[in-house]
């Protein structure tokens, strides 16, 4: 998704102003003219100036406000990308409950399926890979990955 530079410039200006406004309210160090807000204020001002520059360049260049790459026009490809983003977010929210072996396997199977790989071999690959990774990380490297309902079994 490509936004027009004038839109990006506008967003950067808003973001920079918000940073300046928020950081200005941070307390100063005792007996000093500076504090925890000094550095972020400088960054905020730089962002506002950069936003103005990018916005002005965008206005000079013209063009559409938003452009989608050709891949984003295919329903199947959008489904893959959404499974990646939303699926990972859902897995993160329920990671301790569902566990890495089950949650990870479901996510990988869904990704393979939306990529057109629906043969049982891909299901086997997804489950086998996640279980192998879980055993390698939690068994060999002692990473406490949650096993979810499979706790005590693997």
């Amino acid at each position: 998704m490509k936004l027009h530079d004038s839109v990006i410039g506008g967003l950067l200006i808003c973001f920079g102003l918000w940073v300046v406004w928020t950081s200005s309210s941070f307390p100063k160090l005792t007996g000093q003219p500076i504090g925890p807000g000094t550095f972020p204020v400088i960054l905020g001002v730089a962002t506002v100036l950069g936003g103005i520059g990018i916005g002005v360049q965008g206005l000079r260049n013209g063009g559409p406000l938003m452009q989608l790459a050709s891949g984003w026009r295919s329903a199947e490809r959008i489904a893959s990308a959404m499974v990646l983003i939303i699926g990972t977010a859902l897995l993160a929210m329920n990671f301790e409950t569902i566990g890495f072996p089950i949650g990870g396997s479901i996510l990988l199977i869904a990704l393979f399926a939306t990529s057109g790989k629906r043969h049982p071999v891909w299901i086997g690959l997804a489950v086998g890979f996640i279980f192998m990774l879980h055993i390698l990380l939690s068994g060999v490297l002692q990473v406490p990955l949650p096993a979810g309902p499979l706790k005590g079994l693997i």
Binding site: V19, F26, P40, G50, I54, L84, G104, V143
Partner: protein
């Protein structure tokens, strides 16, 4: 130095290290040989595993993976005309022209040998120069460190490709991410929105994994590039036939490529891709047959391949001595060093000189191993190149999720990975490079701490930054880096107007 080498040898010459080096070599060669998977991504994926290793094997794994991946990226460049990393893009035309002439085996032979020699040259410079620079930098105060960090960040913005303004905004974004959490000077919480998980700041490793891996995965699912037909490699054992004679004839190119690569690598913010492009351009400029460049020039190939791997070693000089990354890979290494308690800077050469020398020795070993392992990788390349990125993408995601969680055993790591990853995808789609943001995240703390310390010392006066001669010299260098693009732009504009 010899004492440190003697102390370092027992740390390197162990079966455990041999296993780590071989395993990470195989990983680096595989990732480098798959078109589109970068050396930086390979390194980022390795970080969660290194988290559970001792310091020397951890850094050895990263160093070996990166060296192998940078070399291996020449394999898809030669066989399917898709560079594995940006560093190979400079001479892809020559590799492909040699393939069309039926000399792909020779092209890969040149690549593997020049890469190894360049890497060894860079490693030797690293071993000699880094400890000397560390002694000098022991006298540095917050003023010098602030300007050094500023120089690194400025070079990253100015030397990168694309819009300088967008690179600058990317850097500002990275510095803002680094300022999330408790302020180190006052302990005041900034931008945490009441979330206790953000009090310690944004976890570096999930941020890194997300910003390098997630955009690549989204692009893989959305673009679905087809696997290109692979050219036959021929007998890999004939790869070195005539290469020795060519290298002897091109010894000036080999030396110049290694030298330029090392110097570019040492410059904070510039890595092997820039080293490779500049070295190739210099080679063409001084060649008696510049018309051959891009059409199968073997001397150009020698020079740029040597620059590739020497820059990789050179980038570790500012990383180890000042804690300022030379490129994205050393940015990752600095993060790992902090996690391991080996805080990069001049003091680490005094307190852990044996460990630092052991890491340098690994550089030498990794670059020596490029030849035999590279030969094996080339022999197996026709199989590796048939693996599509679409097949690997879900598996890489599984690796990223496990890695992001494992850093502090919290699902917040996965959320950080995802949010910053999607944001990095949108940044790249809109022409904002991600590398400056990564440098900003890594160096944010260093820049702000030294900036605030210097300001406190000078009672809030900015003039206090210029009290010491080295600081003034570094400030002048920063000014040169800032002014050069403006002067170049002005000259181009004048030339256009007068035309």
């Amino acid at each position: 130095m010899l004492t440190h080498i003697a102390d370092a040898l027992p740390l390197v010459l162990t079966w455990h290290m041999a296993a780590v080096i071989l395993a990470s070599s195989a990983f680096g060669l595989f990732v480098g040989a798959v078109p589109g998977l970068s050396a930086t991504m390979a390194t980022a994926m390795l970080v969660p595993i290194t988290f559970f290793m001792d310091p020397v094997p951890a850094i050895a794994a990263i160093v070996t993976t990166a060296a192998m991946a940078i070399f291996a990226s020449d394999i898809p460049a030669a066989l399917v005309r898709i560079p594995g990393t940006a560093a190979s893009a400079a001479y892809i035309g020559d590799l492909n022209a040699l393939m069309r002439k039926g000399q792909v085996t020779r092209a890969l032979g040149i690549s593997v040998t020049a890469s190894a020699i360049g890497g060894i040259f860079g490693s030797l410079v690293l071993m000699v120069a880094a400890p000397q620079l560390a002694i000098i930098s022991l006298n540095f105060t917050s003023d010098e460190y602030f300007f050094l960090a500023l120089l690194g960040l400025s070079a990253a913005v100015m030397l990168g490709t694309g819009s300088i303004l967008k690179s600058l905004m990317s850097l500002a974004f990275g510095l803002m991410i680094a300022s999330i959490g408790m302020d180190t000077t006052s302990g005041y919480p900034r931008y945490t929105f009441g979330m206790t998980s953000l009090l310690d700041g944004v976890a570096f490793v999930p941020a890194l994994i997300g910003m390098f891996a997630i955009p690549e995965l989204i692009r893989t699912f959305v673009n679905r590039d087809v696997v290109a037909p692979v050219a036959p490699v021929g007998n890999p054992l004939r790869m070195f036939t005539g290469v020795g004679r060519l290298l002897w004839r091109s010894k000036v190119n080999l030396l110049r490529g290694s030298g330029i690569g090392t110097i570019i690598g040492i410059l904070p913010g510039a890595g092997s891709d820039i080293g490779s492009w500049i070295s190739y351009a210099v080679s063409k400029r001084f060649s008696k047959t510049p018309e051959e460049y891009g059409k199968g020039s073997q001397t150009g190939l020698v020079e740029a391949c040597a620059a590739n791997n020497s820059a990789l070693s050179g980038a570790y000089v500012p990383a180890m001595v000042f804690g300022i990354p030379g490129d994205s890979i050393t940015a990752i290494v600095i993060g790992v060093l902090y996690v391991k308690g080996l805080n990069p800077g001049p003091m680490v050469f005094l307190t852990s000189g044996d460990m630092i020398m052991a890491i340098f020795l690994v550089f030498l070993i990794a670059n020596l191993l490029i030849v035999p392992l590279g030969l094996l990788a080339i022999a197996l390349s026709s199989q590796v190149l048939r693996v599509s990125k679409l097949t690997l993408a879900p598996l890489i995601l599984g690796f990223c999720i496990a890695g992001s969680y494992s850093i502090d055993s919290s699902a917040s790591g996965i959320v950080i990975m995802l949010v910053l990853g999607v944001f990095a995808y949108l940044m790249e789609e809109n022409g904002f490079p991600v590398a400056p943001a990564i440098l900003g995240i890594v160096m944010g703390l260093l820049v702000e701490r030294n900036f605030v310390t210097s300001l406190i010392k000078a009672d809030g006066s900015i003039l206090g930054f210029f009290d010491r001669p080295i600081a003034v010299g570094l400030a002048c260098l920063v000014l040169v880096v800032w002014i050069t693009p403006v002067v170049l732009w002005w000259n181009r504009r004048r030339a256009r107007v007068s035309a």
